[in-house]
């Protein structure tokens, strides 16, 4: 796998509190990567260590295969969770400033910023002070500031928090566009619907450690296991009586049928057809929320 970002054995403690414990994962180039976890799991600390805002106690972060340093980190477009703008600055000037400290020439930064403002229909606000803007508008300005230097890698910490559905949609579309252009995006969030919609890979952190890591499709398949969604002439009891079936649960107007390890879908379907009509027969793909809760609970249990 070609990893744009490779995190190896990252640890950080504050006094007795372990914020991140031996965390390793890598972000495939071109992926939309979800860094997930409950509040306080260590997501923000991890990202801050990637961005070298705080120093790690141990471990390394490789960016394009080489350790990240103060110069190389600038190719990353970083939107922190604790974000803000200088309230008294004018919108366009502020964007030019954000571009300039990321190494773009002021003239070029101004051109790009103006184009983005137009795209977000904020161009009439260009000479207003930041404090005149609504919260949603300010958040868009922040995102523009993050992508102004055309970063090949974006790290966004809770980018949708505080946004209304329309702005969320707008930013989601923008991110999907950028992903289509080949930009790698790391999203840290606990809002799972967005992850479901955007991410191709995830790393789930709980209690400072990674408990789930990989491509979303694989994880789903793993957690779905050998489970099938069935609607047929058989009722729960009838299904349970079939060979190889370990459990049956209702799920809306279907029944979830779990097979034991060796049981094949082929045998199950044949048994169903032998006993009557089959309306639906599909592999069960668990939604992310279920996986998330299950993984966290299993982690707590051990």
């Amino acid at each position: 796998m070609d990893a744009i970002l490779d995190i190896q054995h990252l640890s950080k403690r504050y006094g007795d509190h372990v914020a991140v414990d031996d965390l390793s994962f890598s972000v495939p180039r071109g992926s939309v990567f979800g860094l997930l976890g409950p509040n306080g799991a260590g997501k923000t600390t991890t990202i801050r260590m990637i961005m070298r805002i705080i120093a790690s106690d141990s471990g390394i972060v490789l960016l394009d295969g080489e350790p990240v340093d103060d110069d190389r980190r600038r190719i990353i477009g970083y939107l922190p969770e604790e974000r803000g703008l200088y309230k008294k600055m004018k919108v366009l000037e502020h964007l030019v400033y954000l571009g300039t400290i990321r190494g773009i020439r002021p003239g070029e930064a101004k051109k790009r910023a103006a184009a983005w403002l137009e795209r977000f229909e904020l161009d009439e606000w260009a000479t207003n002070k930041v404090e005149d803007l609504s919260k949603g508008m300010q958040q868009k300005i922040q995102l523009i500031g993050t992508i102004l230097h055309r970063p090949p890698l974006l790290i966004l910490d809770e980018p949708f928090s505080g946004l209304d559905p329309i702005n969320t949609r707008q930013i989601k579309d923008l991110l999907l566009n950028m992903a289509a252009e080949g930009v790698t995006i790391v999203l840290s969030t606990h809002m799972l619907p967005q992850v479901d919609e955007l991410c191709t890979s995830i790393c789930l952190i709980n209690r400072a450690r990674p408990i789930l890591f990989g491509s979303l499709d694989e994880i789903r398949a793993d957690y779905g296991g050998n489970t099938w969604r069935v609607r047929s002439d058989l009722d729960e009891a009838g299904l349970r009586a079939l060979p190889g079936v370990t459990s049956v649960h209702p799920l809306r107007d279907e029944l979830l049928v779990e097979l034991d390890g060796g049981g094949s879908s082929h045998d199950l379907l044949r048994a169903l057809i032998d006993r009557g009509n089959v309306e639906t027969f599909t592999r069960f793909i668990p939604d992310l929320e279920n996986i998330f809760i299950r993984a966290v609970e299993e982690d707590r249990a051990c």
Partner: protein
């Protein structure tokens, strides 16, 4: 790296120079300073002009000698003052005459009335009656002249030769001269003190004001949460440095505006064009101006870094108050020591105090306006200050780095020490 620091400097500079506060302080200070420098000069010459004094000479013999004494005194001095004495006939009823003259004084026909009792010179006290008894120069001359005449009269009465008397009672004045660098002597009527005082106050105020700007700027970056966005590309130390340099540049801009205004005001003809008459403005040696800027810059860098640490450690100005005061104390101590230094600018105590880096900007500069400070001491003060600034920037940089990401808990001094150790 330089590009980024420059971008930060530029942002800070523009952010502060566009505030109303900057322009208000830029305009108000020269007005206050001008008032401080012009008013004493103006007061000194306020007595200037012509005074007409009615003299009620009840003795009948002292008008001429007093008049002669006054005119002789005025003629001998480069005094911008002239006094005309008008003898009034006491008339049959002195009380009535007195009232009559008083009315004329009220009508401004006279500036005042001098009453010489008939019992002079042996007893009795001459009186000066006027609506404005604060014309101190006039009163001083009247008092001295009357006194001289009385002394001379008594001596003559005691049998001395009048010529010998006038020779013996000749007044000796005290002329104050300031010894300059090249050994030149210049007339000084207190302008040096005034100048020193004004400049030291400006250093105090500007270092304090711009130090507070640094602290507020850091607090603002923390409270608006913009700081993390910035330090993901700019190193915290670079951000701190850029902020301090940018705000310092605002201070220097302010000085430049002040200097331009001052130059315009003190341009020949300007003062008299303003109707101030012939006022003697203190001249400021160029060398002193250079050191003024140097000591402001060093003082600001030292206190600016300290204020940056205070800003980084706290969330709000209220929380920062105690520590802010702690930083202010060393800045205020020189104000208390001001008169000590002015009286003895070359004493060992003064030298030592002026070499303490926290006091140097004000006290060393103060000494330079008062006395010839040896180059070695100036050099030592600069080296000590720069070393202290570097040390404080190094320590503060660590507090800053940790502090700007801290929210919520109000740190104590031991927390700050821990930050320095851990960072």
């Amino acid at each position: 790296m330089l590009n980024r620091i420059f971008a930060v400097i530029r942002r800070e500079y523009l952010a502060h120079i566009r505030t109303k506060a900057f322009w208000i302080s830029t305009l108000i200070v020269p007005i206050l300073m001008g008032a401080l420098m012009i008013i004493p000069a103006w007061l000194a010459t306020r007595g200037a002009g012509e005074f007409t004094v009615a003299v009620l000479d009840l003795s009948g013999k002292f008008f001429d000698p007093v008049d002669a004494e006054i005119q002789q005194y005025l003629g001998g001095e480069d005094e911008p003052l002239s006094i005309i004495l008008v003898e009034e006939d006491p008339g049959p009823d002195i009380a009535v005459t007195r009232e009559r003259i008083k009315i004329r004084v009220k009508e401004k026909a006279f500036d005042g009335m001098l009453v010489l009792p008939s019992t002079l010179p042996d007893e009795g006290t001459p009186e000066y009656v006027a609506p404005n008894v604060a014309a101190f120069r006039l009163i001083e001359i009247l008092e001295r002249s009357v006194n001289n005449v009385m002394v001379a009269d008594r001596l003559t009465g005691a049998g001395l030769d009048p010529d010998a008397v006038s020779e013996l009672t000749r007044r000796v004045g005290l002329k104050t001269l300031k010894l300059g660098k090249g050994g030149e002597e210049t007339r000084d009527r207190g302008q040096t003190f005034m100048l020193a005082y004004v400049f030291v106050m400006i250093i105090y105020m500007t270092v304090l004001m711009y130090g507070m700007y640094v602290m507020r700027g850091v607090l603002e970056e923390k409270s608006s949460h913009v700081v993390e966005v910035i330090i993901s590309t700019v190193k915290p130390f670079e951000l701190m440095l850029g902020k301090i340099l940018g705000i310092g540049a605002v201070g220097l801009t302010q000085f430049l505006i002040w200097a331009t205004l001052m130059a315009a005001i003190s341009a020949p003809g300007m003062v008299s064009a303003m109707g101030m008459g012939d006022i003697e403005l203190p001249t400021i040696p160029a060398q002193l101006l250079v050191f003024f800027v140097v000591y402001f810059v060093l003082g600001f860098l030292l206190y600016g870094t300290l204020y940056a640490a205070v800003g980084a450690a706290f969330d709000t100005e209220q929380e920062a108050q105690n520590f802010q005061f702690l930083v202010m104390i060393p800045l205020m101590i020189p104000l208390v020591l001001l008169f000590q230094i002015i009286n003895q600018p070359d004493s060992t105590l003064s030298v030592v105090l002026s070499l303490i880096p926290f006091f140097t900007p004000m006290l060393m500069f103060l000494r330079m306006t008062l006395t010839e400070v040896p180059a070695l001491q100036i050099g030592a003060s600069l080296v000590l200050m720069i070393a202290t600034i570097l040390a404080s920037a190094w320590i503060v940089g660590k507090i800053y780095r940790v502090g700007i990401l801290m929210h919520g808990s109000k740190p104590k001094l031991k927390d700050l020490i821990r930050w320095v150790r851990e960072a």
